[in-house]
């Protein structure tokens, strides 16, 4: 086992309170300081506090955007209910399980993987250090396994625990060293190639969406707590304390989006943040915001549905409601970040589009993007800012809020501007904004709102293409399905089937020409998505945006897509 690896996937697990997640956080922070990329997913049981917890990490020399197919090592701080995670932490005969024999036998669900069991007296090692904690022993074992530099470990521990005082730091470092020493004796190293030491970012998708909101100029946020989206609200609440702006915790989801209507009507770039069940409550007001042309960004961090579903797990089943949820005909803009690194720019772009087109923009993130912590290259691309048209063409009797224009956009002065008073209304209205039952006015305004979207130049926002230009196979995906598709495509390409990934960022309005250009020359296209009913595939088929015979590979969460599963699906379909 002396040769170095490109990446190593590790799980640190234990019952609640043992600090498995903290150990994982320390590990990813240390890996970042040692020049590596990383990805960390947290698992926890259904209990609010306590229960089992696990940090799932992959550390490597190349950027990481997907859950690994298998894990190289499971470090079990104890076994209490860790077996419940067995389906989510695939192990095999090449994997290691590091555990304390005092905690009993390896649970059957985990042992049957055939992984090699390495027994170490974890509790005894922790007890040998004054103030030593079990999770720091586990952290040390992981650091030793992959060969992290002691300086990186030291720096990470200091950054994380420094606030608790020097004694805590010393104890953590000593426990980590003891873990390292104990594991070193086994000789079972899985050393990672040296990483390039340069500055990167470490953040979650939820935090990155928050940053994009601030960069876009959001000054008002109203939201109701909901998993897995709340962290965006909390992150913004803290940042806005210092940097200006307001976060209001609304009494319910409906209040939140209506507060956004009010603040945006007042001129403030505005955002609300939710997940599926909350989006369901907001749909009536989404229709209002579309009809009355009130800009706002609506973030939906998707989780498994319908109804309460599985709140802590990822799924992409809210596409239908994001595209169509509201009575009547209400065309809208739906954007989806294609990775954690893409979150800041796509969110910033969402704010600009909402302001420029005076319409709600849906931002479809998902739990996997939102709650995964990643080490990424610092994103450099920023969208060109766009502003709301506020200057009236005429004042007094000549001012018409919903004036019919070529590009569908009409001036939206905020209250305070003299001689432009208008009433925002969900009733069908005339150009003046006055309620009107006239068919001509109704149709003219429907067309105006559709024209805004049709005439707008979305530029490169539509999506990204990865992989060889001469690919014969294309995987078409959005959100967190893009990462595993990229890994799968690289493998297929290496195995002789040149494969590209077409990652859609703008889900509506569909940019047919750009999609067609991306798929030109491709013989086989498969839409890969994490929902049960192939919502993206149906949507694109309905828009006549897919080539004839385009296939669908759709399956719901909660299990994350892994590259091996996608490759296997493709090979199976070819064989069939």
């Amino acid at each position: 086992m002396s040769e170095t690896r490109k990446s190593v996937a590790i799980v640190i697990a234990g019952s609640g309170g043992t600090g498995a997640i903290t150990a994982g956080s320390a590990l990813i922070a240390a890996a970042a300081r040692d020049g590596h990329y990383g990805l960390m997913t947290k698992l926890s049981g259904a209990q609010v506090r306590g229960g089992e917890a696990a940090a799932l990490l992959e550390i490597g020399v190349d950027p990481l955007e997907a859950q690994p197919d298998r894990f190289d090592c499971l470090i079990a701080l104890d076994w209490q209910d860790v077996h419940r995670f067995a389906p989510e932490i695939p192990l095999d005969g090449d994997s290691l399980i590091v555990c304390d024999p005092k905690n009993g036998a390896v649970p059957e669900a985990i042992a049957r993987s055939g992984a090699r069991v390495v027994e170490l007296p974890l509790a005894q090692i922790a007890a040998s250090v004054e103030g030593g904690r079990l999770n720091m022993v586990g952290f040390g074992i992981a650091a030793e396994l992959v060969g992290l530099a002691p300086e990186a470990v030291d720096s990470a521990i200091r950054a994380m625990i420094g606030g608790k005082g020097e004694r805590a730091v010393t104890a953590s470092l000593a426990a980590s060293d003891a873990g390292r020493a104990a594991f070193a004796v086994t000789g079972l190293h899985m050393e990672i190639e040296p990483g390039e030491k340069r500055e990167r970012w470490m953040c979650s998708g939820n935090e990155a969406v928050g940053l994009g909101a601030l960069r876009g100029g959001i000054t008002f946020v109203a939201a109701y707590p909901i998993t897995p989206a709340t962290e965006i609200t909390e992150w913004l609440a803290v940042q806005m304390q210092e940097h200006g702006g307001r976060v209001v915790l609304a009494e319910d989801e409906i209040a939140a989006i209506n507060m956004c209507c009010g603040s945006s009507f007042g001129g403030a770039p505005t955002m609300t943040i939710t997940s599926g069940p909350g989006l369901a409550l907001k749909v009536e007001t989404i229709g209002l915001a579309i009809a009355a042309e009130i800009p706002m960004v609506i973030v939906d961090v998707m989780r498994v549905g319908p109804s309460t579903g599985i709140p802590t797990k990822s799924d992409q089943g809210d596409l239908d409601i994001a595209l169509h949820g509201t009575p009547g005909d209400a065309p809208r803009v739906v954007l989806a970040p294609i990775s954690i690194a893409d979150c800041p720019a796509t969110t910033e772009r969402a704010v600009h589009i909402a302001e420029a087109l005076q319409t709600p923009v849906m931002l479809l993130s998902d739990q996997s993007i939102g709650q995964t912590q990643a080490i990424i290259d610092i994103p450099t691309e920023r969208p060109v800012p766009l502003k709301r048209l506020t200057t009236p063409f005429a004042t007094g009797a000549g001012f018409r809020r919903y004036q019919l224009t070529d590009d569908g956009v009409s001036p939206m002065p905020a209250p305070g501007v003299p001689d432009c008073q208008w009433v925002a209304d969900g009733l069908s209205h005339a150009e003046s904004g006055h309620p009107s039952n006239s068919a001509a006015n109704h149709v003219a305004q429907l067309e105006k709102r559709l024209r805004k979207l049709d005439r707008f130049d979305f530029g490169d926002t539509w999506g990204e293409v990865y992989g060889p230009a001469d690919a014969s196979l294309a995987l078409l995906a959005f959100g967190s399905s893009v990462g595993p598709c990229k890994v799968a495509a690289a493998r297929l390409t290496a195995a002789g089937t040149p494969t590209k990934v077409v990652a859609l960022r703008l889900l509506a309005p569909v940019q047919r020409a750009k999609l067609a250009a991306a798929l030109a020359g491709v013989k086989r296209t498969i839409v890969v998505e994490q929902n049960h009913s192939a919502q993206l595939w149906r949507h694109l088929r309905g828009e006549k945006a897919l080539p004839h015979g385009c296939e669908s590979f759709a399956r719901s969460g909660p299990a994350p897509f892994r590259a091996a599963e996608i490759v296997a699906h493709i090979l199976r379909e070819v064989a069939a």
Binding site: G162, G163, R198, I375
Partner: protein, 297 residues
């Protein structure tokens, strides 16, 4: 400079006409809401803020059509959600005068939760409810303030459900100003609206506004309203006792409190790039001492 930063215009001489729009109300003749509209227009004239600095926000229902009938800015949203719209607007634009209007179904039934929380939050808003104790726009169904035995197609023989007291609820939830007016007493009502608007925090005005189409018996309110029987107090418990023991026909200001309003927004003008720097890690650059939010358990 954005319009948010523009100083208020000095109060100027305005009249009711300055707040009267050209849009014809859809209301039935004899509707109490005409009186409320007129009282509001008078009050706004007296308050002296020009129409473009005033926003009238509403939900859905007969009375919620009111914003289009003034010359102020307006927001006619979805059913029951006027208060959240007004809250978001006032918090984003504290410089504006924000008046929220609506009916009993809109405010007490579908929007009941927002009524509680607007009172609790105590944002500097005025909320005028035109209570006719019936759903008028949908042609005569019982609302949360309709008498239990009022007969209708939707509830033959009555709902059998006791109506609630909006004033008691407003007091319990923390409203800072609580009053009851009568739609047809236009002058005193205008004075009451002026006082409500001037009072800081969440001011709640329950206005008895007869619907003579679906509740013709409410024409009798002209006689049964008890005028001038109420003295304002700053004692919430005393006001609540008065409200709970009255006939629900007494007009006047029941309560004027001094609760602190919702705290103002942080006013920093931060650079998002400083925030982005929190994400930086590794390399040879200075290591941040803390990684905000990145490493918690």
């Amino acid at each position: 400079m954005t319009i948010h930063e523009q100083p208020h215009a000095c109060p100027q001489q305005l009249t009711l006409k300055d707040f009267k729009s050209s849009v014809e109300p859809i209301w039935c003749s004899g509707c109490g809401d005409f009186g409320v509209l007129q009282a509001l227009q008078r009050a706004l004239a007296e308050l002296g803020r020009p129409p473009h600095e005033v926003v009238v926000v509403s939900g859905i229902g007969c009375s919620s059509r009111l914003p289009a009938y003034t010359t102020a800015y307006g927001f006619h949203g979805v059913h029951g959600r006027a208060l959240p719209v007004a809250t978001g607007l006032k918090l984003a634009r504290p410089d504006l005068e924000v008046i929220t209007v609506g009916g009993d179904g809109d405010g007490y039934s579908i929007g009941g939760n927002h009524f509680l929380h607007a009172a609790r939050r105590n944002v500097d808003l005025t909320y005028i409810v035109m209570d006719n104790r019936v759903y008028g726009m949908t042609k005569g169904q019982p609302s949360p303030t309709t008498e239990a035995d009022w007969d209708s197609d939707a509830a033959p023989g009555g709902t059998g459900v006791k109506p609630f007291s909006p004033l008691a609820i407003a007091l319990a939830a923390g409203a800072n100003f609580v009053a009851r007016g009568f739609a047809l007493d236009v002058k005193p009502l205008a004075a009451m609206i002026v006082e409500a608007v001037r009072h800081p925090g969440f001011s709640f005005l329950e206005i008895l506004s007869p619907c003579i189409t679906f509740r013709p018996e409410e024409m009798e309110w002209k006689k049964s309203v008890e005028r001038g029987a109420i003295q304002p107090t700053s004692d919430r418990a005393q006001a609540t006792a008065t409200v709970l023991s009255d006939t629900e026909m007494a007009t006047g200001i029941f309560f004027k409190g001094d609760r602190g309003s919702y705290r103002p927004a942080p006013t920093g003008h931060g650079d998002p790039e400083k925030i982005a720097a929190q994400f930086r890690i590794g390399g040879t650059a200075h290591m941040p001492a803390e990684e905000g939010g990145c490493c918690g358990d």
